[in-house]
């Protein structure tokens, strides 16, 4: 499959995401924030880092980038979209996912190997995992506290839309220990930790993140 990775001004992890896409067995396609063009890709990744200086709020300006008009429209038609870290923030600001991400409750930047439980394996991006799988990937963020009102949290929990949950302690104040969620359809996933940094044994926290980049094949078979 051809998987597009968007580069915003300030993206840091677009290169790693493209590399992970390749290791996952797909072709990575570079997409540019300023283009109204998804180049016919089969899925899109919004990578981590920053975007437009994250002025105002993280993701608030990038939500209105030309490429996001196309991403939002395509996601509503079912295109698989994965937002990692800043990408998750952009998906929330775009209203493709509910809730928002605020500054870590302890006000410090976190950079660590983080244990997670994959709780929903019905999404386009997690179907390759076993339900309940415990994985360790990198978490690095300053504004990773997931918040939503009580009704939204009830709905996410009731519909099984929490994709990943933090284990062994909450690293950033996220409500319900939420690390990642999906939309009703299961094609859009937002995740605060970084699976693209855990795809090679040589570096990083191991290869537990690879499933996010191989699941699309499993889903399409």
């Amino acid at each position: 499959m051809r998987i597009g990775v968007v580069t915003f001004p300030g993206s840091l992890d677009d290169d790693d995401a493209r590399r992970a896409v390749g290791i996952g067995g797909h072709e990575a396609v570079s997409l540019w924030h300023g283009d109204h063009d998804l180049q016919g890709v089969d899925a899109v990744i919004l990578p981590g880092g920053f975007s437009y200086g994250d002025y105002l709020r993280c993701g608030a300006i990038s939500r209105f980038a030309p490429v996001m008009t196309e991403v939002v429209a395509a996601a509503e038609q079912g295109l698989p979209v994965l937002g990692i870290c800043n990408g998750f923030q952009i998906l929330c600001e775009s209203h493709l996912l509910p809730g928002a991400l605020i500054r870590n409750d302890h006000r410090k930047f976190v950079c660590k190997d983080q244990k997670l439980r994959i709780e929903n394996t019905r999404t386009a991006w997690t179907s390759g995992y076993d339900e309940g799988a415990e994985i360790t990937i990198v978490l690095k963020n300053g504004e990773g506290g997931y918040v939503a009102d009580a009704d939204t949290l009830d709905r996410l929990e009731g519909e099984g839309r929490v994709v990943a949950r933090y284990l062994d302690g909450n690293p950033n104040g996220s409500l319900h220990d939420i690390a990642g969620i999906t939309n009703e359809r299961g094609n859009v996933v937002g995740l605060m930790p970084h699976p693209e940094h855990a795809v090679e044994a040589l570096t990083g926290a191991g290869t537990d993140g690879l499933g996010f980049f191989t699941s699309l094949v499993a889903a399409s078979v």
Partner: protein
């Protein structure tokens, strides 16, 4: 020129880590008795033409669309008296 002020504040039920940091700093500086601090944003928006209901509505739309995130923030818009 029509001038408007948009005040954006984190919703009461949303944790405000920045406000908490300021709250923590004040007693260390000798300011006693401070019970709570919440930190928000203030935008001063200037729009062409005379102030009108239409312009006010337009600024409200800006506040809803971009200046605030209604999921975590409340906003208030008020016209600022012209200094001329």
């Amino acid at each position: 020129m029509a001038r408007y002020v948009v005040d954006v504040m984190p919703k009461q039920e949303i944790l405000d880590p920045q406000g908490k940091a300021v709250l923590g700093a004040l007693p260390r500086l000798g300011f006693a008795g401070v019970v709570d601090v919440r930190q928000g944003k203030r935008f001063e928006v200037e729009v062409e033409g005379e102030p009108s209901d239409e312009t006010l509505a337009e600024v409200r739309k800006m506040a809803e669309t971009l200046l605030s995130n209604p999921v975590i923030e409340d906003y208030e818009v008020h016209a600022q008296a012209s200094d001329q």
